[in-house]
Subunit: 289 residues, 2 copies
Amino acid sequence: MNIIEEIELYSNLVDNKLMDIINNKDDYTSQIYEAMKYSLFTGGKRLRPIMTIKSFELFSNKIEKVLPFALAIEMIHTYSLIHDDLPCMDNDDFRRGKPTSHRVYGEAMAILAGDGLLNLAFETMSNFIYSNSESVEDFRRNIRAMKEISAYSGCRGMIGGQVLDLMGSSDNMDEEKLIYMYSSKTAALIMASLVSGAIVSGASEDEINKVKDFGLYLGLAYQIKDDLLDYKQDQSIDKFTYLKFHSLDEAEEQVKEYSRNAINALESLDNRDISFLKNLANYLINRVV
Amino acid sequence: MNIIEEIELYSNLVDNKLMDIINNKDDYTSQIYEAMKYSLFTGGKRLRPIMTIKSFELFSNKIEKVLPFALAIEMIHTYSLIHDDLPCMDNDDFRRGKPTSHRVYGEAMAILAGDGLLNLAFETMSNFIYSNSESVEDFRRNIRAMKEISAYSGCRGMIGGQVLDLMGSSDNMDEEKLIYMYSSKTAALIMASLVSGAIVSGASEDEINKVKDFGLYLGLAYQIKDDLLDYKQDQSIDKFTYLKFHSLDEAEEQVKEYSRNAINALESLDNRDISFLKNLANYLINRVV
């Protein structure tokens, strides 16, 4: 199986589990469930939940122990896209070739669908932890995973990165701040995905840290790669990116350096089957669209 | 001490604890912390967190065990107000005499400040549960409180009620649906406040249910009272309320009946000092503004 086939396999699993949660029988609230479902199923590759599952599988098996966290992260990712696309934010009418939530359901419902997904992420984790933890150790690992996810998705993580992106201009942005923005806006949720999987699996602190470093460097490489791809597609867009500070060659070189750092962090894990995550990193960094 | 003085006493405690969490030293994310703080401190009476604390105090002491849940509920309440006030929702320029978040910080930041507060609510609870639970019993109670809060604030609770409010029109609204909307939009977060306090205190299932009934009926009485006060203030507003189905006298009578149900639920608790919650209910139901 090549990496694309393997991604698809796990992606189908994630899709099925998400569908179980989002399928709603209640007439009164069917509209918001429909809106949440619409955005959850617009052809995302489920990279983040797959990272959670695969990070867990580095150290353990029985992936049903980690699935609710993986699903929660996909819900958080989806809510952030819905809100980012709104007219007052990035004002995007299409995402992955389909009309964005506010184009289909209106702005008010798009905001509520985003709120609903963020809430549902924590509801999903809380329900699972409550019903599936038996020992103090179980509880501690599960809550720690949720705690880390909440931190990475919050104001010191993803939301904070979005704020910097919103407020960023040439007057107030320097390279240090840009990298901080990338590490929070993009890398934080990737770190959340990987770290939560490792925590739930019972990995050691040292192992958790290595997985976290992998996520940080992968996230940074991914974001600068994105800058390069966006630039190649349309050079007229005046966005604040890594290319404000560096040439194309320097950016390409930086992607490679971050990628090497990511793979090094992964390879420093002893006796673990890192092949999938390594292939995934290479796939993401070498993509052409 | 009368009820207003007692509310103020607890309200100051809640204010101080919220300030501890929201005061931010980080330059990069100071803007969103400022926006969240602005909306958290616009003169709210802190009724919901006070209900959480007082529900806890019916059965236990050491309120530091319940404070993070109380604060989380105030954050959830505040995020819902920020998002409700947005131009595409209720389009309110003022709340409690002060400009709303989007008037001060712009729509994009208001949306992010709302997202930030919802996320921070779960971050606050997760951090507390992780660091302050010792036994399986501790963990179970704490997570159950968070689980209940997430359910009451989610798509089957507060957000669902907001959706019904948004989509409601004379074509599709009947009295049963209106009461469902009131129980989710308004009563749900009051129930969350009371139920979470009781759960963390170690109350029995029977006691938790009684406190929950108190919250439901109090919430319904509160909402219909609100309809009456809004109508008396401005009869030109064409909103979909209880008064679409009933006369003013019938509505007043219904407020009284729900209030009696609320107090009855409270009085069915044996050997508990219910005086504060009873006074609070009477204060809320008899208010004139």
